[in-house]
Symmetry: C2
Subunit: 163 residues, 2 copies
DNA sequence: AAGATATGTCAGCTTTATTGACATAAATTT
DNA sequence: AAATTTATGTCAATAAAGCTGACATATCTT
């Protein structure tokens, strides 16, 4: 296929030894985290594709339900995506009747976002399998471990970057 | 803008109350997990974009380094993506000298994948900030909590689905 | 010899993101 | 009042990373 035709290039030797955890690198957790998240989002993904929505819609529905009245700017800040990326997704959710916009009572430039009843239901339906998965993962865990997991996940976040 | 022009459609009322944790839904962990993962992958993303690579390249480099000699089929299985999706990314990594293919010694149809020296270095460079983040998140955690976090992450994975 | 398997490749499509440019309405500053 | 800034929306083009379907090749198995 790519059978080395041109002038012979000396290619570096392949390494056969696996990369293991070292003093400085914790590959085990890195990998566990990857698999955990991959499967964690697969539940809602399966539900969403029936409605023609994707992961991006899920995030928007989730946060608007958690913080009704949040503005578009708040949402951009939370999701760390661009305005244009959000726009399409948000428009579809509004057109489908899952989210409503209301002009801000003080600042009328703002568009405050609220879930509708069906938006609330969608958010709950999406969260349910994830929540069951979490409960399963906690099976047999002590209260200390449960709190420890929360602290760990919280500690994985970026510290506030100047703004 | 989208100023309701046509026949008046009665739109559902917006809901103003936030969704809180219930007996059945654990929104807190769902959200912590989202933020944790978002920031966790942002470190390598920043490194990768300098080389013109993306998240997909990272995953391939990681797993080939962890399991040198794995085949293309193994990788497809691990990443749960399609052959065609993998092909483009893998080709770029091979062309750039980070990964080498070697025909299987027993089954010569197989292409066993190995990292080169620079492939190993890339994998380590990508893992390093993630590992520091993990260590930071574990600060002050007891051995029990550390084990509990691993068990939790492991428990979040899908159980084996029949194959 | 026939069929199955592992891989590669071509062509086209979709989703989710990106950037840049510009428009509008409302609030704020001068 | 005029100018500027802010919050939002929108148009156009692009990119990354996935997808499906179809087909080719080499190799192994029966």
């Amino acid at each position: 296929m790519s059978r080395q035709t041109g002038p012979k290039v000396s290619r570096p030797e392949p390494l056969a030894t696996p990369m293991e955890d070292t003093d400085i690198i914790d590959f085990e957790i890195i990998e566990l985290f990857f698999f955990a998240y991959r499967d964690f989002v697969s539940d809602p993904d399966a539900i969403l594709e029936k409605s023609g929505f994707g992961r991006a819609h899920h995030r928007v529905v989730h946060f608007v339900n958690r913080n009704p009245g949040m503005t578009v700017a708040d949402l951009l800040d939370t999701l760390k995506i661009t305005k244009q990326s959000l726009a399409r997704v948000l428009k579809q959710l509004i057109d489908s009747g899952y989210i409503r916009q209301v002009a801000g009572p003080e600042d009328r430039r703002q568009r405050k976002l609220y879930p509708t009843k069906s938006g609330r239901e969608l958010a709950l339906a999406l969260a349910e399998p994830q929540s069951r998965r979490i409960e399963r993962a906690f099976e047999g865990a002590s209260a200390e471990v449960r709190e420890g997991v929360k602290a760990f996940l919280s500690g994985m976040r970026d510290r506030q970057k100047a703004d």
